[in-house]
Symmetry: C2
Subunit: 139 residues, 2 copies
DNA sequence: ATCATTGCAAACACTTTGCATACGC
DNA sequence: GCGTATGCAAAGTGTTTGCAATGAT
């Protein structure tokens, strides 16, 4: 399992250092759309010398190579996701949780239009998100 | 025309100070999705004593009262829009321009689902955006 | 020995906060 | 004159940068 992730890094030309592997592993196992800070606070327990810089460097590298996607909904926080298949998001404005939303639930075409043109503009990325009050917070 | 905007502020319970009116007027006339800084740099010419704080205060007030919507695509900049009808956006990663995209072009339902529930979550806001290379930058 | 990775501290950009001043009714 | 709006400066937050130290082959 660890080796699968390691191989994924190698396949993309990223040398699989211990730190990078741990960060990618964390994102792979925690589908909670963590921020850079969340990831840092989780992994520092296992790697006490870890620095934020390494988190940022690694997330940037993984992002550039297409292994993770980044989600910006609030201006003050970027969240990261190892699920790179197209899907929407729902952000609860009360508790802050971020949920995944399948394309079929948002009446979108399942394809994300990436590689196509809209009004003449070439699309390389698509994001759909909702805000509101999540299921748990409605009571 | 100025009076229409003034009345819109009054109707929402916002006292129409000169500064607030100028900021709202700027957003109304410039559908370029400016940042707080863009607005500041534009209006400082007419009101030399203007401060950024007033820009932020005003944008917050207008946003809370539903007169402008804010768009977050890049983590480091919030853009503002006096067009509060639902529509998508396209951000050019080369030149940075932000274009409006009509709902019909993005194969979405025209309704924005606001007030409805998705997977049990109550939706209060929906945003759709694309990134890519815009028409002008493709040559 | 060489090159890449990591870590620290400082720099940065945008936004918010606290409080004093000025304005409008 | 009183309450609100404004402005300044400082603090805060998340991220990036420069460079030195460390690690791997």
């Amino acid at each position: 399992m660890d080796n699968d992730l390691k191989d994924a890094l190698i396949k993309k030309g990223i040398s699989p250092s211990y730190h990078r592997l741990k960060i990618y592993e964390y994102l792979w196992e925690n589908r909670t759309h963590p921020t850079a800070d969340d990831i840092y606070n989780a992994i520092i327990k296992q790697i006490p010398t870890l620095s934020k810089t390494t988190i940022y460097n690694t997330l940037k590298t993984l992002g550039e190579k297409g292994l993770v996607s980044s989600i910006t909904i609030e201006d003050n926080e970027v969240r990261y996701d190892a699920d790179i298949a197209f899907h929407g998001h729902f952000k609860c404005t009360r508790c802050g949780a971020l949920y995944d939303i399948d394309p079929e639930h948002i009446m979108l075409d399942k394809k994300n239009n990436v590689g196509k043109k809209i009004l003449g503009h070439l699309v390389t990325e698509k994001q759909v998100y909702y805000k509101g009050i999540c299921k748990k917070c409605q009571h």
